[in-house]
Structures are given as structure tokens and as C-alpha cells.
């Protein structure tokens, strides 16, 4: 793999164990500048573990990660990355929408300085992007699940990042707002940003995806144009049956949906 200025994210031979169990087994993945990469795979295939490892949120036992050409350990330009975690873990109790989104500006702010005018504008624009301007001062706990997801997306957008890393951004978001999200993402990609998107199923974001990486049981089993997924599906079909005993492989129906194929049942 060529690692140069045009590669915004590159990982080689990434191996991660959680609680002694291997979750990722020698994964290689890259995102080039301006590229939108979808990360697909069933429940337990290691998608979230992979993105969290790529951002340094989980330690890896083997392998290398580079962000914008710097080894993860030396990477400091965090404002270039916008991370949308899976909705759940955070304890936002009592926060206003604009307060949550303002946290997306922290990588650009210096200590002991109030929000600048530029920060405020970026926060308002990010909230407007996801269609929540009227909820600027709403208590995030009173919003619907889909609205909360959009708040987390706005928080990542507020950083004005060069690379968006989204962990299932469409889960719990209705179809209409998945399309809104697709428009927002499309606009950022046109402006030169890159994206790594964990998806359960492709949905309205499909048209934006340049390349799909499929994980199964901690290994990359497909890395190529999303159009090739149908062909890959037939090849993968055989493996899946072998893996079923561990309960980590996606079930057949899910795979069907995931790959959007309409071949055999």
C-alpha cells in the first residue's frame, strides 16, 4: 500500500485483542484524500473496534496506524478528524444541543479562552446542516433517538474536519434524514474531505461510497468498489456457514440486506 500525502488514514496488520479474545486479526485498511470508504460487516465482525483502534481509543497489540502521514502516537492535528461515535455511551444529561455541538470545536480552541465568534458560527452552521436549528437550545435528552444522532453528527461537523469517521451514523435516523445526511456528506466530499463510514446497511449513503471494505470475524474479506459486493457475496456465502457456530458472523438475512443482493435466498 502506498502511504503518502494523499493517504489520510492507513493501517497495516492491525491486531487487537479485547479481554484475551482476538477481535481484529491482521487488518489492513486505507482511506485516500477525497475518498468515501464504507466499512461493512455483521454484528461482532469488529467494525467498531477497528474505527476505535484507528483513532487510538483502543490499544492494538500489533500493526501500525497512520493518520495524515503521522504515526498515531505522534498525531496531534485532531481538528482534522470528526468522529461520530455510536450513540449511547455518553452522559449528556441536561445539556443543550449547542453545548454538545460546541465540544466539536475543542481541538481548535486554546485553554482558558471563551468560544470565539468563528467557533459560534461553526457551531450554528453545523447544527443548521443537520436540520436542528430550531432545537439549538433544546435539552438533548428530550430529543428523539434520530435527532440525538444528528446532534452527534453536527458535533463532528463543527470541527470542519478533513476526515470524518462515522460509526453507524444512520442507525435510528429515519429515511428522510438519512438523505439529509447523505447530502451533507456529499457536500463535504465534494469540498475535498474524506470519510470512513461504518454502516449496517448501505441505504441512501450508497451512492457516495467509492470503496467498500467488508469485515468478517476480524478479517478483511472484501476491499474494492461497492459494485463488486454482489460477486463477493457468493464467495462469502460458503465461509459464513462455517463461522456460524461462534455467533460472531452475520446471519444470512442480514448479509442479504447488507450487500443489497437479490440472488438466491
Amino acid at each position: 500500500m502506498l502511504v503518502g500525502a494523499s493517504t489520510v488514514l492507513a493501517a497495516e496488520d492491525l491486531t487487537v485483542e479485547l479481554g484475551g479474545l482476538p477481535v481484529l486479526r491482521g487488518v489492513a485498511i486505507s482511506v485516500r484524500a477525497g475518498e468515501a470508504v464504507a466499512l461493512l460487516g455483521g454484528n461482532g465482525s469488529g467494525k467498531s473496534t477497528l474505527v476505535r483502534t484507528l483513532l487510538g481509543l483502543l490499544p492494538h497489540q500489533r500493526g501500525t496506524v497512520q493518520l495524515f502521514g503521522s504515526p498515531l502516537r505522534d498525531f496531534r492535528s485532531w481538528s482534522r478528524i470528526g468522529y461520530v461515535p455510536q450513540r449511547s455511551a455518553a452522559l449528556f444529561g441536561g445539556s443543550k444541543v449547542k453545548e454538545v455541538v460546541a465540544a466539536g470545536r475543542l481541538a481548535r480552541r486554546r485553554l482558558f479562552r471563551p468560544l470565539s465568534r468563528t467557533d459560534r458560527v461553526a457551531v450554528r452552521e453545523a447544527i443548521a446542516h443537520v436540520g436542528l436549528s430550531e432545537q439549538l437550545n433544546a435539552d438533548i435528552a428530550r430529543l428523539s433517538g434520530g435527532q440525538q444522532q444528528r446532534v452527534l453528527i453536527a458535533r463532528a461537523l463543527a470541527a470542519e474536519p478533513d476526515l470524518l469517521v462515522l460509526d453507524e451514523p444512520t442507525s435510528g435516523v429515519d429515511l428522510e434524514h438519512q438523505r439529509v445526511l447523505a447530502d451533507v456528506l456529499g457536500g463535504l466530499l465534494t469540498a475535498g474531505a474524506s470519510a470512513l463510514v461504518v454502516l449496517h446497511d448501505v441505504g441512501p449513503l450508497g451512492a457516495l461510497i467509492d470503496r467498500a471494505v467488508v469485515l468478517s470475524d476480524g478479517r478483511v474479506v472484501h476491499d474494492g468498489p461497492p459494485g463488486d459486493l454482489g460477486q463477493h457475496r457468493r464467495r462469502l456465502g460458503g465461509h459464513e456457514h462455517l463461522d456460524h457456530g461462534e455467533g460472531t458472523a452475520p446471519d444470512h438475512d442480514e448479509h442479504e440486506r447488507l450487500l443489497g443482493g437479490a440472488v438466491e435466498p
Binding site: 481538528s79 478528524i81 468522529y83 452522559l91 441536561g94 445539556s95 475543542l106 485553554l111 436549528s133 437550545n137
Partner: protein, 332 residues
Amino acid sequence: MIEILSYPFMQRALIAALLTGLIAPAIGTYVVQRRLSLLGDGLGHVALAGVGLALLTGTAPIPLAVVACIVGAVVVEILRQRGKASGDVGLAVLFYGGLAAGVFLSGISGVGAGGLAQYLFGSLTTVTPDDLILIGLLAVVILVITLGLAPQLYAVSTDEEFARTQGLRVRLYHIAVVSLAAVTVALAMRTVGLLLVSALMVVPVAAARNLVRGFTSGLGCAIAIGVATAVGGAAASFYVNAAPGAFIVLLAIAVFVLSWPLSYLIRQRRAAAVLPELVDDDELVAAHTVTESHPHRHAPGCGHQPVQHGDHTDFIHEGHRHAAHADHYDEH
């Protein structure tokens, strides 16, 4: 009110109460946000080890309690970060170890466990000028950090992983929060006492959450409630000859209890407003918020919906209300 100000010991008591009322909710806001509401209680036990050591060595108790508390808090936090504090057993051992050490040390110092009572329940009127200087200095440190680093501390205590992707050194911030909580506990042992300080860190924060919306408003409101109840309780206890620590905490709990019907009334008022979702901030004190450069002039029929607001007309503008004020628009 003039009468109690003429006694130097009451002046010191009121200043100490004021400072405690400022710092306990300020740090308590982050402690509550991280769902560590009982941390202060545990640290109070650890502080007793410091007091015991002070009694044994014949030195001032507050500095040693501060040190013991910080050591205890940092140990707890490191255990938690390494995932070793699961099941709370480690915490229990540390906290009761502190309590036992305090009782033991005060015993062999000849003072006896009874000598600890004034630290358990507070002894506001025995605050010395030296105590006050130490409390004042440390209170400034706590306020500068809890208010100055509010955006960072907020991010770290609401969403740790996201904060890390903003380049924040999350572990360092966590250690800072528990250390400042430890200092607060140790300082408050003169005012409300070690057993009750945790209440002043938690109760005003809980009451504020019922009254105002948003983290920043909550922080300000909690501090206001903390100061009002601490100073009010200290002053009132002088007249009714009650224990100030208990009086302060009971007052704070009264505010908390009253905040439930009040929050109901606030919601009712909000529901009665013309456009409930569009009504802007509901901070207790309405701030004078000037809108950023706004070239458009609002007038009836300008395309923005007019709303009668008291003696003037606001215009709904992108989810908030604009009111004409001199040469600019205020956000109402």
C-alpha cells in the same frame, strides 16, 4: 445582619461559608456529571486520616487533610482507570481504611475519637485567620480551573472517547477533577463538616438541573444556590444557635425539594408561551444577549413572525426571538 458582622469569628465564618458555597457546587457539577455523586462522601472518610495525623503531630489539620484527600482521590482514580476498582471493593477498603486510620491516630494522640466530631460536623466559628487564607487561595485555584476549563471538563465528563478525539488528555482531566473534589472536601470540613460536604457538592447541582436548562446555566445556578444556602445557613444558625453545617445542608435540601414544584411551574409557563419550542434560554437571570451583525430590519410583514413579548414585539428569527433595542437586536 450588622450585629453578626461585628464579631471577627463570625466574619471569618461567613467568608468561609461563602467560599465553600462557591467551590462545592462548582466542582460538584463535574462530579455529578460523571455519576460519582458519592465520591465526596468517601473522600471525607479519607480526610479523617489527615486530621488524625495532624492531631498526632500537633500541626494544623486542614493542610494534612488536603494532602490525605488528594492522595486518596488520585489512588481511586488510577484504580478506576486501570479497571481495578470494579465492584467498589477497592474504594470501600480505601475509604474505611481512612476512617479507621483517623480514629486510630486521634486515639493514640490522646485527643480521642471525640476530638474528630468538630471535623465530621463542621465548626464554622473556629475558623482561624490562617485557615481562611488557605481556604481562599485554594478556592481561587478551584474556581479558575472549574470555570476557566469548563468546556474541556464538560467534554471529558460527558463523552470521554469524543474528548480524546479532540486531543484532550482525558486521564489528566479526570485526575484534576477528583483532586479538586478532594481539596473541596478537606476545605469544607470546617464549614459543613466531612460528613455533610458531599451534600453541598451534589444537592445544589441537582436543584439547578430542575430549574434551568443547559450545562453552563446549571453550573451558574448551582453556584448561586450553593452560595445562598451556605451564607444564609451560616448567618441563620448564629441567631437560632443551631449547628451551621447541618443548617446549610438542610437549606440546600429545602431548595432541592422546592425545585420540583418550581420546575413544574416553569414548564407550565413554557407551555403557555406562544411558541414553546422557540422560546430561547430560560436562565433565571435574563442576560442581555445582543444578536450578531444583523442587516435585516424587522417590521410587521417582513417575513418573520411577530410575537408580543411584554411591552414590545419580538420577531421569530431562525429559532429564537429578536427584539429591537437601540441600533441592534437583542435575542430574547
